[in-house]
């Protein structure tokens, strides 16, 4: 079957199998920032943003993305053109092995798009589905709170 999906802002028609997962579709298309960790929605390294919601791509059928927008980490910021969330993660030295980082960036982006003034508890809640074994999360949480503040300043200036 064929689906129509907008990936990182680019509208595309993709041939998918009815049982194909969004994770496999995206990786097949070269979006390697979407990682495989468990394949059953328990670790969150495959987190992407589907129509504004952070979802686990390993639990989502590709067909569910039909007529929807998918944002992967590649669509949030690129080398030389980083998003403030990514800048903050670098400034705080939050990322270690980096395998969970793309998923965390996506969860953080979905949170801050919806709630520009999150509390620490809300940031931690938003990251609840993203397991990380390297960092203890603390520097990610600090980075995301920092990014939220910077994003508010930036949007304040734009207004």
């Amino acid at each position: 079957m064929k689906i129509h999906v907008t990936i990182n802002g680019v509208p595309t028609d993709v041939k998918v199998a009815p049982n194909e997962k969004l994770l496999d579709m995206l990786r097949r298309m070269g979006y390697y920032g979407v990682k495989f960790g468990c394949g059953r929605g328990e670790c969150g390294v495959c987190t992407v943003i589907l129509d504004g919601q952070a979802v686990m791509a390993c639990l989502t059928f590709a067909a569910q993305a039909h007529n929807k927008s998918v944002i992967t980490v590649e669509g949030i910021g690129q080398p030389g053109n980083l998003h403030l969330i990514q800048e903050a993660i670098l400034d705080h030295g939050a990322a270690q092995c980096g395998y969970c980082t793309p998923g965390i960036v996506c969860s953080a982006k979905a949170l801050l798009d919806e709630n520009p003034h999150p509390t620490e508890v809300q940031v931690r809640e938003a990251l609840k589905g993203n397991l990380c074994r390297c960092t203890g999360y603390q520097k990610y949480v600090e980075a995301i709170l920092d990014a939220a503040e910077k994003l508010r300043e930036t949007s304040g200036r734009l207004e």
């Binding site: 979006y31 390697y32 920032g33 979407v34 990682k35 495989f36 960790g37 468990c38 394949g39 059953r40 328990e42 670790c43 390294v45 992967t72 980490v73 590649e74 910021g77 690129q78 080398p79 980083l82 990514q86 993660i89 670098l90 400034d91 705080h92 030295g93 939050a94 990322a95 270690q96 092995c97 980096g98 395998y99 969970c100 980082t101 793309p102 960036v105 508890v121 940031v123 931690r124 809640e125 990251l127 609840k128 589905g129 993203n130 397991l131 990380c132 074994r133 390297c134 960092t135 203890g136 999360y137 603390q138 520097k139 990610y140 949480v141």
Partner: protein, 773 residues
């Protein structure tokens, strides 16, 4: 002490690979696709202990899309160890790539390579096995009994300590006169502690891709901490000389010791050699839990004697460890349980490093998943037992637990003799402590946790509060064994390439090595392009384990950079017509009294102008010192006496890692190690049914703490200067894992007056302890 001023060292340099990590551009093994690549899958044993009477793979071989099926009939029968250690490995060689016998539920039976993963899985179902199911041992305390079934019947014993009694490895060391020490004690405290089996749980599963290059050499891309050990260990198994094997480590998604194992590479390579095609094997998360490696479950008898004034007179640890079906790291992990914990304290007869210490460890085989290397490497178990016993002793002596520890802790200049007798799998190397910030760690941590106030807190009601602490150490590399080498070469733009066999598994070691080299070369760390690791292109390194990379490989980076510096200055003397003594390296330039030139200009001179050469250097480093980092951990807990739930409200870790080359990364290591230690203390544990099947091989049932489960953690870096390390650095990565179990256990005791002697401290265990109190 006045510290030298550094420009690169000590800075919170952004990770050199950071931008790739946060944008999803970093390439892990899973992100590599080779044309014609086949998918490998492994058939796993449904039985804890069984003999393969017959294995029929004809139907699987006939399935369209299947290219090869391997069973024990068509792989070389060579004994080896999966432990990725230096040669000769001190672990028993008790493993075959595929055997006629299986020894745990999940053991490898056969392997398939097929066009797709689905076909490979389909083929596994078509392999018919006739089993002779054997009685199994699922309890380490039963393993040595006379009627226990024998798990290993090797043609030769191959360093298995006592195969008849299922003993994989044993070690016993005595220092001083512990018997006399205990006899002279006013009080002796002795108890048993139990530590469960846990998993490293790196988010990237084990994965390997093998292929043949155009010269017919075997290329292995693998998520490993030990590329050079992989190359050496698989060579006989695939019947190729070492030079015909190339091992490449791309980015790694965490390892924590579990990737110090040669797990998938042999079978993957044999499938490639059989088919001529690239083959990829990636473990599922369930396989990761069942068939990779775990921390050793241990039962520890811990005994401490002390005078009524709080002077320790003798210490003893006796360990029974469950190595599971194979003896990977069975000897060395157990050695570390004693050698990392016991030498932290003096006894009253202390002189010339003699302590009254007895240590004995026995690692037994069971028909359960295989234990191996995991962050801490035996020390978390040792500190849980020893530090809990010290806490109990302090309570019985009516002393503040901190005062009691302070009275007995080692000091700078001490040379604990136990370390000379007890190395990793062999005798150790004499050690003299040249840096020791343990007292400062305690002082700073006490203030941060508000120890005095919280110890004096009135307690009562349903939810009780308590505060506890633990004192810890680890090592930095394996003395006399670990060697790291670094190659640096200079480019025309003043940047340089740094090639190392050390494997940054997320720790940030690529960045640390860049900062060290940049410091020597007077340039910025981001001018350093780090490449790690490829056995064809990078010099040897034992690998990222034993907390070695900053301390060992970091020194190699420093030496190589110093050699580059000498070569650069020699040219600059001529180019600037200045005296050597007037030249300095700063901001990427060589500065003289009058003029300056850039590193790039020096390189261009070397490549194109004068007496042409590539400015490059390779340096190796080995250390006979193994300076311990020290730490004091503090936990403030709330225990619900109705539900048994333990909540950690605040956690403080003060650590002496010498000079923190990158303070932010050192904090990150500490935070991550505490996260792993908190899971060990509170929630993580393998659970088996009565047939040896793992009941919780998934994150839903094997609970790793999430972002919202974590307490507030305060990390305090306490600077000291270790003279044998690069710019004063010691290790930092493993030590934090040792803290949470004893610190929280001691806090629970303070809250409830009840001591828990088994981790994890689950609500059930807390309630049981309360009922039995």
């Amino acid at each position: 002490m006045k510290r030298p001023k550094y420009r690169s060292v000590g800075q919170n340099q952004r990770k050199v690979d950071g931008e790739a990590l946060v944008t999803g551009q970093a390439r892990y093994v899973d992100d590599i696709e080779l044309r014609g690549m086949l998918y490998g899958k492994i058939l796993r044993s449904p039985h804890a202990h069984a003999r393969i009477l017959e294995i029929d793979a004809d139907e699987a071989r006939g399935l369209p899309g299947v290219h090869a099926v391997l069973t024990h009939h068509n792989v070389p029968r060579i004994q080896y160890t999966t432990a990725g250690q230096g040669a000769p490995e001190p672990s028993p060689k008790d493993t075959f790539v595929l055997d006629e016998k299986v020894r745990y539920v999940g053991d490898s039976v056969a392997a398939v390579a097929a066009e797709t993963a689905q076909i490979a899985e389909e083929a596994l179902k078509k392999i018919k096995v006739r089993w002779e199911v054997l009685p199994a041992v699922l309890d380490m305390e039963q393993a040595m009994t006379p009627d226990a079934p024998r798990i290993h019947e090797m043609p030769s014993a191959n360093e298995i300590s006592n195969p008849e009694k299922n003993i994989a490895a044993q070690v016993e060391v005595t220092d001083g006169d512990p018997e006399r020490g205990f006899a002279e004690a006013d009080l002796v405290v002795e108890n048993h502690y139990r530590a469960g089996r846990v998993h490293a749980s790196h988010t990237e599963p084990h994965i390997c891709i093998t292929c043949l290059d155009e010269a017919g050499r075997l290329v292995v891309r693998t998520s490993t901490q030990v590329p050079f050990h992989v190359r050496r260990i698989i060579a006989p198994l695939v019947n190729l000389p070492i030079g015909k094997i190339r091992v490449i480590k791309p980015r790694i998604g965490g390892g924590f010791g579990a990737k110090q194992e040669v797990l998938l590479e042999p079978i993957c390579a044999l499938l490639t050699l059989k088919t001529g095609r690239p083959v990829r094997i990636r473990l599922t998360r369930e396989e990761e839990f069942i068939s990779s490696r775990t921390r050793h479950a241990q039962i520890l008898r811990s005994k401490v004697g002390a005078k009524s004034d709080g002077t320790i007179t003798a210490t003893e640890l006796e360990v029974l460890a469950d190595t599971g079906a194979y003896g990977s790291h069975a000897l060395t992990v157990q050695c570390n349980t004693g050698s990392k914990s016991l030498p932290l304290y003096r006894t009253h007869q202390y002189r010339k490093g003699v302590n009254n210490v007895h240590f004995k460890a026995t690692a037994v085989y069971t028909n359960l998943p295989v234990a191996g290397a995991i962050r801490g490497y035996g020390a978390p178990q040792g500190f849980f037992a020893l530090d809990s016993t010290l806490d109990e002793m302090a309570h019985k002596l009516k002393m503040d637990p901190i005062d009691f520890r302070l009275k007995n802790l080692v000091r700078k200049g001490d040379s604990p003799a136990l370390l000379e007798k007890l190395g990793e799998g062999r005798e150790g190397v004499k050690q003299i402590l040249k840096s020791c910030g343990v007292r400062e760690c305690i002082k700073r941590g006490m203030a941060e946790i508000e120890w005095q106030q919280k110890r004096a807190r009135k307690n009562g009601g349903v939810v009780r509060r308590g505060v506890g602490m633990a004192v810890l150490q680890q090592g930095s590399g394996i003395p006399g064994i670990d060697m790291g080498a670094v190659t640096i070469k200079l480019n025309e733009d003043g940047s340089f390439n740094l090639m190392t066999g050390a494997t940054d598994l997320g720790t940030g070691s690529d960045t640390i090595l860049a900062q060290i080299a940049a410091e020597v070369l007077g340039t910025a760390a981001d001018k350093c392009h780090v490449f790690s690791s490829d056995t064809d292109l990078t010099p040897y390194d034992t690998g990222a384990y034993a907390s070695s990379t900053t301390y060992i490989t970091g020194m190699a980076a420093k030496k190589a950079a110093e050699e580059i510096r000498r070569k650069v200055l020699a040219r600059a003397v001529r180019m600037l017509s200045e005296k050597r003594g007037d030249l300095t390296l700063e901001n990427g330039r060589v500065k003289g009294r009058k003029k300056s030139i850039s590193l790039g200009e020096v390189c261009a001179d070397a490549l194109y102008e004068h007496d042409q050469e590539q400015i490059m250097a390779t340096a190796s480093h080995i250390s006979y010192d193994c300076p311990p980092p020290f730490a004091a951990h503090f936990a403030d807990v709330a225990v619900d006496t109705e539900t048994g739930q333990v909540r950690v409200l605040k956690y403080v870790a003060a650590v002496d890692c010498g000079t923190a080359i990158n303070p932010q990364l050192a904090e990150g290591q500490t935070l991550g190690g505490i996260h792993m230690g908190l899971g060990y203390a509170l929630s993580e544990e393998y659970q088996f049914d009565d047939r040896g099947r793992l009941m919780n091989p998934r994150f839903l049932d094997y609970k790793i703490l999430s972002a919202s489960d974590m307490p507030e953690i305060k990390v305090i870096l306490v600077p000291t200067f270790e003279p044998t390390g690069p710019f004063g650095a010691k290790s930092v990565s493993e030590i934090p894992t040792n803290g949470p179990a004893p610190a929280i256990g001691n806090a629970i005791f303070h809250a409830l007056g009840v001591r828990l002697r088994e981790v994890p401290f689950t609500p059930e265990r807390v309630l049981k302890a309360l009922r039995n109190a």
